[in-house]
Symmetry: C2
DNA sequence: ATAATGGCCGTATTCAATTCAGCGGAGAAC
DNA sequence: GTTCTCCGCTGAATTGAATACGGCCATTAT
């Protein structure tokens, strides 16, 4: 519906403040966005139209960026996950970064506080393809070194970015926070 | 709808082989799962019920793990992203791991090939909360050291795991693979 | 005090999801 | 080569959810 054409996070306005119901809605939709508005309203204590109105507002405001399917990597035969650490001293402006962000293997790009590196999460068919990707990255202007961790097995890969505290069950030993 | 109660990826059967249409469907739903089956059928060349049947099968087979909303981290005030590298020499069996996977801050857990560490992607309110999380992790039985990269700014954080080659535009300079 | 606003509810309508019956092609058995 | 079986597709029919609307209530501003 709403065209999410931007692969790169451009400077969107920060979403406005949310109340408790909004946060509970996000907590529900982060786990499962296929439920009906009737079900959603049930869980957060609203009528279906009210729940719908809230969700529309959350979409408009940008709090809900998108709604997507989470795919099992094995289904598409891209099982090899790696974290690549590239040194970017001498990195220019953004055009090369935007090119990297178009690589199909690159799922995430992060800069690191107090360091001159970027951290990429990548997924490839096999080690051979990873080597090729590293070679391409190393040829990218501004990249002066690369280093990669290959991930053997993934236990947990939550599809979404934020953990919303209210909606996650807290294990018993965490009831008393240490700080 | 389908109860996705398992936070940890247990040993599910690997999804069966997919044909070209299945992969195109995944490619569409990975970008936007809010479209109607009529629209989906249009894009992949099927009638609405056929597209629906395919998607149901993909869900049943596990190729589509889940369908979720992607939340803007700023909306829930959990902006600090970090990668935590914990040494797990002496790590026991799985119960402690399962506890870690319940921490609301922990979004991903990976093991690393040829190493004795695990790599966690975590998101917290601020550095203070990160410190607290690191302290809790360090107290977890089996964890012998922790080290963390704090991510300052995120350029690209694709919501989904696999890059499906056919559905991503290939930049011109990548037309000739180097390997 | 009163008007205006915003958010909710219940109902009504529209549109999509889902079911079903029937068709047709691919492959197996013979 | 022929026939049978199975699987997946289509198109129409039905169910059910998404959406629009009118009215109510609480809060705030004038």
């Amino acid at each position: 519906m709403d065209e999410e054409t931007d692969g790169i996070l451009q400077n969107r306005p920060a979403p406005r403040d949310l109340d408790a119901i909004d946060r509970r809605i996000l907590g529900v939709l982060v786990d499962d966005a296929t439920i009906s508005y009737a079900e959603l309203g049930d869980r957060v204590g609203l009528s279906p139209p009210a729940a719908h109105e809230r969700v529309k507002r959350l979409r408009r405001s940008g709090a809900i960026r998108n709604t997507v399917a989470i795919i099992d990597p094995r289904a598409v035969k891209k099982p090899l996950l790696a974290f690549v650490h590239i040194d970017t001293r001498g990195w220019g402006k953004t055009p090369e970064l935007m090119a990297v962000s178009q690589y199909p293997e690159v799922e995430e790009i992060h800069t690191v506080a107090g360091d001159t590196c970027m951290l990429l999460k990548v997924r490839t068919e096999d080690t051979r393809a990873l080597e090729g990707l590293l070679a391409r990255l190393y040829e990218t202007p501004g990249v002066t070194s690369t280093r990669s961790y290959v991930v053997l097995s993934t236990y947990l890969e939550r599809p979404v970015q934020p953990g919303i505290t209210e909606t996650w069950p807290t294990p018993k030993h965490m009831a008393e926070p240490l700080y």
